[in-house]
Amino acid sequence: MSIEWKVVVGLEVHTQLLTQSKMFCACPNDYAGAEPNTHVCPICLGAPGMMPVVNAEALRYGIMAALALNCHVPPFSWFERKNYPYPDLVKGFQLTQYKYPIGAEGFIDIETEAGTKPFRVNRVHLEEDTAKNSHLTSFSGEHYSLVDCNRAGVPLMEIVTEPDGRSADEAVAYLRKLRDILIFLGIASGRMEDGAMRLEANISVRTAEEEAQGILRKRCEVKNINSFDVVRQAIEYEIKRHIRAYERGEEVVQATMGWDAENGRTVFQRSKEEAHDYRYFPEPDLPPLRFTEAEVDAIRLTRPELKHEIIVRYESSLGLDRYRAELLAQSRSFSAYFEAALGLFANVDRVANVLLGDFLAQVNDRGLSLDDCALLPVSAADIAELARQWDSGDLTGPQFKQVLPYMFDKGVGVEPAKADLGIRKAEASTLGPVLDEVLAANADAVQKIQSGNTKVMGFLVGQVMKATRGQADPKDVEKLLCGRLGV
């Protein structure tokens, strides 16, 4: 009889924080593209006699994250020294919040097949990133390593869950939701490809009886994962590996594993027995941190809205349906863009339709990103103006479809685009000769209308529009025709 194996997954996420400066010194935080060892100072190089100063912005971000993850923020905390020798650690220890994390005992709701489920967060803590080692071989075959300290001291936040994941799907749902939260708070880039966000999964399996009794078996930790796909593959691989071992009557050794992307498998790195003794103790160079209720409340009240909160607001106060609300809230920047346009032209449907229709089509066709809408060639003010003109009839539908791509092409506003394209609204007063022509050429239709068949009016309007190459406002045309025909 085959056993029904149950899956247990816990997750650890490290994310760099988007502060101006490093965790404990004034060096710029953003080192992307910088020459090695240029974003450094005596403090982040751990020079003799140097002391850390806590980055207040990083603390605020930590509290913000803790609150968004429904954690309790303790009244005080401190940094501790985590001691281990390695050339990526210039001081020989890393400062980290060990005993008193900045957030504890939270959760985030994830959507599963069975409905909404809370995924518990054990802790959120702040620490400093390490330097980056590169292992190289010279032309003569000599192995050597280089240390780049630009990353040393970059603020890092670690978020550790309880073992609440029951499948790879749930793990990924948690990670996606967490990433959205961090990005919407504006405290992390969420970029995994360059290591700004790093994932680790702790995986074990157990029988249904063990699950009922809350018993856990030996777990394996897969470290340094840099995509949701890989985390899914790694979890699924480990699940199979554990089950196979147990079914063969073997034991699973508690271990740290790495991911071998080439072969799509996990590889053993070290066992629990080989783990470091980090000899933590409180950093004597920093006084304990204290957080008053007022400070925490101020952060609670001013923290940016999260994606799911924005969606709910769009539904409830803007009257948008779920589908459109989700699309408009797909990125923090896009929702801000939408709201900025709405601030200038308060017609929700019109603005939403412009953005979710032709606008998104343009963005997608051009391979543009909505992560930072400030980089788009078209501004929110342009969108508001476009929606306004379309709504008022200053732009006809065909003109609208002509103008928007042009604005994307040239990065210009509505009026310059219209001028360049030679689009102007045909004034009613100038339509006389055209009306004469159309009425003369369509005597049949005129007669039908005058005998009460007003449905034919649409045909006549269409003829006028055709003759003006779409520049007339169809509403004006209809009104003029009614006047001429006395209907």
Binding site: P42, I43, L45, G46, A47, P48, G49, M50, M51, P52, V53, V54, R81, N83, P85, P87, V90, K91, G92, F93, V147, D277, R279, Y280, F281, P284, D285, L286, P287
Partner: protein, 493 residues
């Protein structure tokens, strides 16, 4: 002027302003004095005569322009644990030989802003670990009053430079007594300020929760002047205090009548040299005769001070010294593997006492032992703090010896760490409690070796210590130049 090197800072400052001398002349005088005594005493790891003369010339210009601070043009020595921009800073260790920091420590910046003249980098026990200046990787320093004896430590060179008139003042650091004990053994005034009063930024860390920079000088007022210059908030040292720095010299001369001084019964123990005990008791009587009121107090956890200190300090040492691995800091010694290179570098670069403390600290923080050692020691540290807090409900200052002995012969305790550690038995508790302590000369033993009196104050109450010390100094002969005539090195004074 014939005896420029004997002047106090205030006398020298007055002479500079009166045009009776120049900073260059003062500097030349102390450099000449150094030429005489340095071969015997060896106060410096690195004398810096050229810098000194250049700084003196600049100071003279500033003095001429008027409105120069008190310390402008005054020669002073800097303990070689304190970073000086572009000037080798070794911490007394081979591992930092040739290391030139790219920054001045906060205290050095303060002195530089005041226009001081740096005479050199003073010798110390390696990484400030020792009580005799003998663990310096470079050379021992000898006591000017008795060249066969040690000057105390770890700030031995800073104490001797001032005692032997090689500088008008100096900076030392005190972790468990490293200013007060050498001040006692060398017959000078030394202050360990309240923890947090002086920035530690740029001071190579030994035990971060205990280290504090402080001045040595030949008089209480001089000591107060230097203390005032180096004190104050530093944004780069989060443990430094934003409290205003009082005018410490103004506290010198304040009436001490009615001040209550506590005499802890635990500070008069067996094994203390009789001359020390007698001089300290006489000093207490002198303070009483000046109007202070002596009260017996008890600091019941004093006996645990030494063991508490020798757990906490090595724990912090083990982390603070981890960076000296030859990768970024420390003279590298290559090896087959990275781990070999680490071992070779640290094996060759550190001396025995440093290794002993790194090993002690690593052990005391290890999984399974941290609770019994580090955590337990922190609890006892709180009890020691509480002892003082309780005593300070009754008294304004605590008085006792700074060291149980006078200067001991070189080599006498080098092979017996516990005997060496006992040198600091009276200074450690105030360090553990973060309290300010001052040591002032209060007599000589039968061999003319100096004896020091220690006064411990409440947190941030250095002023009380200056008032008491100044009253004592002014009413006793111990700090007079005539007493320092007992110094015979280099032809005497």
């Amino acid at each position: 002027m014939s005896d420029l090197t004997h002047l106090t800072i205030e006398q020298a400052a007055a002479a500079l302003r009166a045009g009776e001398t120049s900073s260059v002349e003062l500097t030349q005088a102390v450099l000449a004095r150094s030429e005489q005594v340095e071969p015997t005493i060896a106060s410096y790891i690195l004398p810096t005569p050229e810098q000194a003369l250049a700084m003196a010339a600049a100071a003279d210009q500033r003095l001429q322009a008027g409105d120069a601070p008190l310390l402008c043009g005054i020669p002073g020595a800097i303990k070689d644990l304190i970073c000086t921009e572009g000037v080798q800073t070794t911490a007394g260790s081979r591992i930092l030989e040739g290391y030139r920091p790219i920054y001045d420590a906060f205290v050095v910046k303060q002195l530089r802003a005041a226009g001081y003249v740096m005479t050199g980098k003073a010798n110390l026990d390696e990484f400030a670990m020792g009580s005799s200046c003998e663990t310096s990787a470079y050379h021992p320093t000898r006591n000017p009053f008795c060249p066969d004896c040690v000057p105390g430590g770890s700030s031995g060179g800073s104490a001797t430079a001032v005692a032997a008139d090689q500088a008008f003042f100096s900076l030392g650091t005190d972790t468990g007594g490293s200013i007060r004990q050498p001040a006692s053994l060398c017959g000078v005034v030394g202050l360990k300020p309240t923890y947090g009063r002086v920035s530690r930024w740029g001071v190579i860390a030994m035990a971060s929760s205990l280290d504090q920079v402080g001045p040595f000088a030949r008089t209480v007022r001089d000591c107060a002047a230097v203390a005032e210059c180096i004190s104050g908030r530093d944004e780069l040292d989060s443990t430094s205090s934003a409290r205003l720095v009082p005018d410490y010299r103004a506290a010198c001369g304040r009436d001490i009548k009615g001040l209550r001084i506590g005499v802890p019964r635990e500070y008069f123990i067996d094994g203390m040299e009789p001359a020390v005990s007698a001089s300290v008791r006489a000093a207490i009587e002198q303070l009483v005769s000046l109007g202070a009121e002596a009260v017996e107090v008890s600091l019941p956890h004093t006996e645990y001070g030494l063991s508490t200190y020798y757990v906490i300090m090595p724990c912090e040492v083990s982390a603070n010294l981890a960076r000296f691995d030859g990768i970024r800091y420390g003279v590298p010694k290559p090896g087959e593997t990275m781990w070999d290179a680490y071992s070779n570098t640290r094996g060759a670069g550190f001396g025995a006492e440093v290794k002993r403390r790194i090993m002690l600290g690593t052990y005391a923080l290890s999984a399974g032992y941290a609770e019994a050692y580090y955590v337990q020691a922190q609890k006892v540290r709180t009890l020691i703090r509480d002892d003082f807090a309780k005593a300070f409900e009754q008294v304004d200052a605590i008085v006792g010896p700074a060291s149980p002995t006078t200067a001991f012969p070189l080599g006498a305790k080098l092979d017996d760490p516990v005997q060496m550690y006992l040198s600091d038995v009276f200074t450690l508790p105030a360090s553990l409690a973060g309290l300010p302590g001052i040591c002032i000369p209060c007599g000589f033993d039968e061999q003319s070796k100096p004896i020091g009196l220690q006064l411990i104050g409440r947190h941030w109450e250095e002023e009380t210590l200056f008032s008491l010390s100044y009253a004592f100094e002014q009413s006793t002969p111990w700090s007079l130049p005539s007493n320092r005539a007992r110094i015979t090195v280099g032809g005497g004074l």
